[in-house]
Amino acid sequence: MSANDLLQSATGFSLVVLSLSLVLTVVRIVRGPSLADRVLGLDMLVAIAIGFIAVIAVRTGFNLYIDIAIALGLVGFLATVAFARFILMRGTSPQRLEPAATPPGPRMAKRGKAGQAARRRRRGDR
């Protein structure tokens, strides 16, 4: 088994596994209950695409693909930051829009004492 054969089989395996993880991430994006889940799935999709480009660079021998991967990482980071700002500005999530008839007590996670104190302090300030 020569070095080229080894690399061929390794890149083939990587391409198959990365395709599988792309499919799993797309399932999460389709199913994701809130917008934040979908944005997280987009971030993961960009990370997997960077890996895909690196594997293609190994397989074909074009080294310019690495620059494309770096540029894609920059764009993905900026997209995630922009979506986070958008979620912050929009300010609603489907869980908040639920009818208030069901008491939210047992469904919510318990909050620590420090959090309660800080919240009280903050409310008193404003």
């Binding site: 993961m44 990370a47 986070a84 300010g91």
Partner: protein
Amino acid sequence: MGRESLAVESFAMESLASEPLGMGLAVVVAVLLVLGSLFSLLAAVGLLRFPDLYTRMHAASKAGSVGSGLLLIAAGLHALDGAILLRALAGFFFILLTAPISAHLLAKAAHHAGQRLHPISVTDQMPRERVGPKD
């Protein structure tokens, strides 16, 4: 058009053929490729299986960045060129730098927007700033 694509193809063939890649380096590159793709697969599985946005974020921002970083390092080692290896390392460093920042921003925005933790979570120490109509 035809001649250009032919030229590109012959360039690729030449760069693939003239590569004196040793067996040891090929083994290292292959191991890095397999490890990186498995890390990416584990991140995707965690993204699919974890119950909560905040736990999913762990999988996506840690395992995902390590996976793509390992694949980038494999591509840089495969090139047998210091400049390209340095570029790949810079890309890995950039990913390591930006993944926690984007995850933190997203988690803070989601918490601010009222995304709740899963009931099995133990505590939420961050005070909720803008409360809803009945909270």
